[in-house]
């Protein structure tokens, strides 16, 4: 293995992590007893404010953050246990997911004391949702082509531009907005960008118009966000002016390495196991076993990245590898199960497997798009190999 892509041995489970695992299992068994497989199939796209608040009460959001910001100073591995148990149970964690995964850590690293003190405790309490304002109509994978512009005005900034595919912008309390603060440079595409912390409760309707974009399954997750003369106060800037690119790439290892990158189809696998039963034909056993083997190997890689993050390393390349392998698995799961279970997908069907299958058939294409397309990730990995 090339050094740039080496995976450190994952920290081994301890008594503490396994005790925590048992607690989380008992919690989800009680809290989610009535959650149907169809609902569980939404994985971390499922949103439930009340559930997030209960997780916050348990101390399961912002777990690794300092106590002074509402965190619980637990290990990355303990946090990992909570994440994977929630995902395996199909828990509706979407309301706080982005804030816990990447916006909170970004604030911790780059935010001012005031920003941290004001927002992190609310995230940790499960009372604060974030969205990410990155993509634009002419800037998808090519983030550096973003044109949304913040210009200095008296007492702050005036922002103009359009963001798209912004998941949860209609409900989020905050957006971390990536935009230009200087005109484009011909020599350095990554210069002159900054991140802003936008209070969505104030911005919506006051310079910001959030319009739904309905996905092909008929659901409203993402949005178009039109920004016209939106005023942001001086203290809305996140981190240093001009450091936007560095800060946004610093989020990537957090965004890409977690169990949310290979467990999006887990409910489908579990329901296929239920439907096929212990006497499933041999070819089904082989096929389901293969998917399970992949999960077991990926889980080890993903936990390794969690350990590397805890050790202060920057495993962005390893994270890209985990996400790429994980997304392939999530999508293959759909194809494998439709063949061995021989069911037709039917969204909202009364029967569980056709309905869960339809959910995944209609959402799986997004798995290798969201959070960095397969092609972009593979390009990053190639760069890590020294090819670019």
């Amino acid at each position: 293995m090339q050094n740039a892509l080496a995976f450190a041995p994952p920290p081994p489970p301890s008594e503490a992590t396994e005790r925590l695992r048992a607690e989380v299992r008992a919690f989800v068994a009680a809290e989610l007893a009535d959650r149907t497989p169809q609902q569980r199939a939404a994985s971390w796209s499922g949103r439930d404010r009340a559930f997030s608040r209960k997780m916050g009460e348990r101390g399961w959001i912002g777990m690794t953050w300092p106590r002074q910001y509402g965190g619980h100073e637990r290990s990355a591995l303990e946090r990992y246990v909570v994440l994977e148990e929630m995902l395996a149970a199909g828990a509706p964690v979407g309301y706080h997911w982005v804030a816990d995964r990447q916006s909170g850590p970004n604030l911790l690293r780059n935010g001012t004391e005031e920003q941290r003190a004001a927002i992190l405790p609310r995230i940790a309490a499960g009372e604060c949702s974030f969205c990410i304002g990155m993509s634009e109509p002419d800037s998808g994978s090519d983030l550096a082509a973003a044109r949304t512009r913040a210009q200095r005005v008296q007492g702050g900034w005036l922002v103009n531009g359009t963001k798209v595919w912004t998941s949860g912008a209609h409900e989020a309390d905050y957006m971390i907005l990536f935009c230009r603060t200087e005109a484009k440079s011909d020599t350095d595409r990554h210069a002159g960008a900054s991140q802003f912390l936008v209070d969505m409760t104030k911005a919506r309707g006051a310079g910001m118009t959030v319009s739904p974009i309905i996905d092909m399954r008929g659901e409203h997750h993402f949005n178009e966000v039109a920004i016209q003369d939106l005023f942001l106060p001086e203290d809305a800037i996140l981190g240093r002016e001009g450091d936007g690119w560095k800060q946004v790439t610093g989020e990537l290892a957090y965004e890409r390495s977690g169990p949310d990158r290979f467990l999006s189809s887990f409910t489908l696998l579990a329901e296929a196991v239920r439907a096929l039963g212990p006497d499933a034909p041999e070819r089904a056993a082989v096929a389901l076993g293969r998917l399970t083997s992949h999960i077991i190997a990926l889980r080890r890689l993903s936990r390794s990245v969690a350990g590397m993050l805890q050790a202060g390393e920057d495993p962005a390349l390893q994270a890209a590898l985990v996400k790429d392998l994980g997304n392939v698995l999530e999508q293959e799961t759909v194809e494998v199960i439709r063949l061995v279970a021989d069911v037709e997908p039917e969204d909202e069907a009364a029967e569980v497997l056709p309905s869960v299958l339809a959910h995944l058939v209609l959402t799986a294409p997004s798995f290798s798009l969201r959070g960095g397309t397969r092609e972009i990730l593979r390009g990053m990995i190639a760069r890590g190999l020294g090819l670019r």
Binding site: M1, Q2, L5, F7, P9, P12, P13, S14, E18, R21, R25, E84, E85, A88, A89, F266, L269, A270, E271, V273, R274, L276, G277, P278, A280, E282, A284, A285, V286, A287, L288, G289, R290, T292, S293, H294, I295, I296, A297, L298, R299, R300, L301, R303, S304, Q318, L321, D324, L325, E375, L377, R378, G379, I381, A382, G384, L385, G386, L387, R388
Partner: protein
């Protein structure tokens, strides 16, 4: 693996496994000098307890040595000798010096009969495709005895050999036994030997895959077409990224296999590891040849020493279909509501490894 052990193994194999050695072995010559150098280091005893001649290496360290050897395509039975010694030691039998190997690798009828009282045990049957059977000083054979599994130590000269070879031109011989043998009760059943062998093959595949990645990276950076190194083309870069991902997955599988070996060879974990690494081997071998073009297909170039071994190892001690079926049966038996717990239980703790070691000693 401790860095020191890994570094010295890397130095040894890098200096000893030359192109000449590989080509001679490919032509059927036993690499005596290489084997002697490896035996001198004591690596062949890495899985033995200290009282049987081991040097106190952990299973992870022993597996690390196997990975390094495989990364150099070392054409010697290091994994087999380690494994045979481990089997014999576990059965309380002395571990002979020299080349050792194990049987069965493929399932087949091998039976031990007799009482072991006064007279020796009698071993009968044929073991197909035994690695380096013709060279071995002794074979550690796991067979069902009248009262459970046993290990027999069968010295060279006491069995018939029908020579065969792997696709990498390593010896894979059919051995026919029909005679008296020394045997001891074994805590390791034939199925557990299959898992132990699979776990070592997993480590070997991971080693070879890491080396193939390095060979491919070097090649695409130097081979120029259309005026630039081919690694500058996105099509090649995408293939290389897939290759790196598969190599990483196989590395994780090998780590899982090493932990499982130390913790009592849970077939669910070993099976997942062997199947995952085997799949990675198939994908990587294909991509490695694709990015190399015709040169990678030649006898002269080093790639085939690695890829041909992968094509042998992925089938031995159970292929992907066999192990995935076992994993799948485990998943189906756990049921929809027990599946996740079955998966999380595959992570071995240090305490489990220590526990297994204590059981070993008892």
């Amino acid at each position: 693996m401790s860095d020191q052990l890994a570094d010295s193994a890397e130095r040894l194999f890098a200096s000893q496994v030359s192109k000449t050695v590989l080509q001679a072995a490919d032509g059927g010559h036993w690499p005596a000098a290489l084997w002697a150098a490896v035996e001198d280091t004591g690596y062949t005893a890495a899985l033995l307890p200290e009282e049987s001649g081991g040097f106190g290496a952990s299973a992870a360290e022993a597996f690390g040595l196997v990975r390094v050897a495989a990364a150099h395509a070392a054409p010697i039975p290091l994994a087999e000798t380690m494994l045979a010694g481990w089997l014999l030691a576990r059965a309380g039998l002395p571990v002979p010096a020299g080349i050792l190997t194990v049987a069965p690798v493929r399932r087949g009828p091998l039976a031990l009969s007799g009482t072991g009282q006064g007279d020796a045990w009698h071993l009968a049957g044929t073991a197909a495709r035994v690695p380096w059977g013709r060279q071995a000083a002794a074979i550690a054979v796991v067979a069902e005895g009248p009262e459970g599994p046993m290990v027999a130590c069968v010295p060279a000269g006491s069995f018939a050999v029908a020579e065969g070879r792997s696709v990498a031109n390593e010896p894979r011989d059919a051995l026919t036994f029909d005679g008296p043998v020394t045997a001891g009760r074994s805590p390791i059943s034939p199925e557990q030997l299959r898992a132990a062998g699979a776990s070592l093959r997993t480590a070997q595949m991971a080693g070879a895959l890491s080396r193939i990645l390095a060979v491919c990276v070097a090649y695409v950076q130097t081979r120029v077409q259309f005026g630039r190194p081919i690694g500058k083309f996105q099509a090649i870069q995408q293939n290389m990224a897939v290759l790196a991902g598969q190599a990483a997955a196989a590395g994780a599988a090998a780590d899982l296999a090493a932990d499982a070996f130390a913790a009592g060879l849970d077939p669910f974990v070993v099976g997942a590891a062997k199947a995952r690494a085997g799949e990675a081997a198939s994908i990587v071998a294909g991509l490695a040849h694709q990015v190399h073009g015709a040169i990678g297909f030649t006898q002269e170039y080093e790639l085939h020493h690695l890829t041909r071994r992968l094509w042998a190892w992925r089938d031995e001690f159970g292929n992907e279909a066999e192990w995935n079926a076992l994993v799948g049966r485990g998943a189906l038996a756990a049921g929809a509501d027990g599946l996740w717990a079955k998966i999380t239980d595959t992570m071995v703790t240090d305490a489990m490894i220590t526990g297994a070691m204590i059981t070993d000693a008892a």
